[in-house]
Amino acid sequence: MRFTLLPACLCLLALIGAPFARSETISIAAAISIKEALLEAEIAYAKETGDEVEFSFGASGVLLTQIKNGAPIDGFISAASEQVDELEKSKLAVAGSRRVVAMNGLVLIVPAGSKLKLTSIKDLTRDDVKKIAIGQPKSVPAGQYAMQTLASLKLDQAIAGKIVNGANVRQVLDYVQRGEVDAGFVYATDAQQIGDRVKVIANAPADSHEPIVYSRVIVAASKKQAAADRFLSFLGSPAGKQILEKRGFITEAPAKTTTQPASK
């Protein structure tokens, strides 16, 4: 009796426990510019594995601050290397878990109804251009890339008084889309995502800023590192790459050194 009851109990336990043990919910902090692609990837991933992913989107620098302050995050996808470097340096990232997720381009956009007829980044110095939105360079990678481009074109001094800082790149997109600013720097994928409410004026030359590389890393304090790795690795799978590419991201390292965005 004893010997037959025990295995039966164990079997029952396993049956009850199975669904709970198998499906896990992980938290991923990710650059807001990659939001739509990740939400779509999550749906495909959840179907495949039963795992669920909760996202917290924001400026990579803001997310880094939150992780450093102990936010319960399992994985981090940053729009620039700097934030991941810092996470690794402060030993808050799982060693060796860093991979490139995707690449992007930087573009100058204006509101769809803009009457200024801007044609190049240099036109930003014109007197009739009053306000230019970029991400807050202290915390928003898109803003850091924009400042690099402006500095390399030697325009940063001339337009310093026109800069409006967005809390993240999507706020920049919103400022431009609402027509509150005359122009703004966002990622090529952001401009593609919002459609015809903004107009792309120019691509920032790829050599004018650091390569725009999205990196992912697993947070050392996470108790769900394996599950976090499963989802993050899914992004590197053919299915994951296809979703990213559909949203305009570049997933293969270019053969040449140039990384011109695939503008649609």
């Binding site: 620098g61 880094l64 601050t65 310093a160 809390a167 609402r178």
Partner: protein, 224 residues
């Protein structure tokens, strides 16, 4: 330090101008609403007091809708006066006026309501114009409530963040003290580095409140 002084100057400029505008709007309105009775008065009073309890972000949201380039009012300001209130310190003044308005309006209204009406009536009998009665009789007698309200409104304008950050945004070199603290926090600066900023704003607010208390005490002594 330079940044701190610039933020301090901007915060003071916005709060001082906002307090003057609030005074010009709230004091006459408080007087009228304390004296007259008309249909819909309660609703108007409730609407004027609403910013006191509404989240500042909701106030900011409405102001952006109203004052934006394509907003109901912003469109005309833009077309007629080439005035863009979004990302402009004058827009921040509008936000500060809206949120600090009830803090002057409410004490001013109760101050006007508690005045001995006979003195106003005597002045009328003696032939004073309504404006002169307001200026020489009602206003001086209500000054206690009004001065407290002015200082409270000033302190509130100085500390305003939610609506201001939506209108003024985060402009390089044009951050108010509260916005600069938030920008430092989100950019991962060590929190310790923000101490001069919070010290500046906390001291200014504390001074405003101490002035109110000192004024009230001296006014009370004077009345006795």
């Amino acid at each position: 330090m330079n940044d701190l002084l610039r933020s301090l100057a901007l915060s003071l400029k916005i709060s001082i101008v906002a307090t003057i505008v609030t005074a010009a709007l709230a004091i006459p309105l408080a007087f009228v609403l304390a004296r007259r009775r008309f249909w819909g008065k309660s609703l108007i009073e409730a609407l004027l007091t609403l910013p006191l309890v509404l989240p500042p972000t909701v106030v900011g949201y409405f102001l952006v809708i109203l004052l934006g380039v394509h907003g109901w009012i912003g469109r005309w300001l833009n077309e007629w006066f080439d005035l863009h209130l979004i990302f402009d310190w004058r827009g921040a003044v509008v936000a500060a006026v809206v949120v600090s308005f009830p803090l002057l309006f409410l004490p001013a209204k109760s101050a006007f309501a508690s005045i001995d009406r006979e003195l106003e009536d005597i002045a009328t009998v003696m032939g004073a114009s309504p404006l002169r009665i307001f200026w020489h009789v009602s206003l001086p007698m209500a000054r206690r409530g009004i001065v407290s309200g002015l200082l409270l409104a000033f302190a509130r304008a100085l500390g305003e963040f939610g609506a201001t950050v939506m209108i003024l945004g985060d402009l390089s070199g044009h951050q108010t003290l509260p916005i600069s603290i938030y920008a430092d926090y989100t950019s991962g600066r060590s929190l310790e580095s923000a101490w001069p900023t919070w010290l500046a704003i906390a001291s200014l607010s504390l001074i405003s409140l101490l002035v109110i208390l000192a004024y009230n005490r001296s006014a009370a002594l004077f009345q006795e």
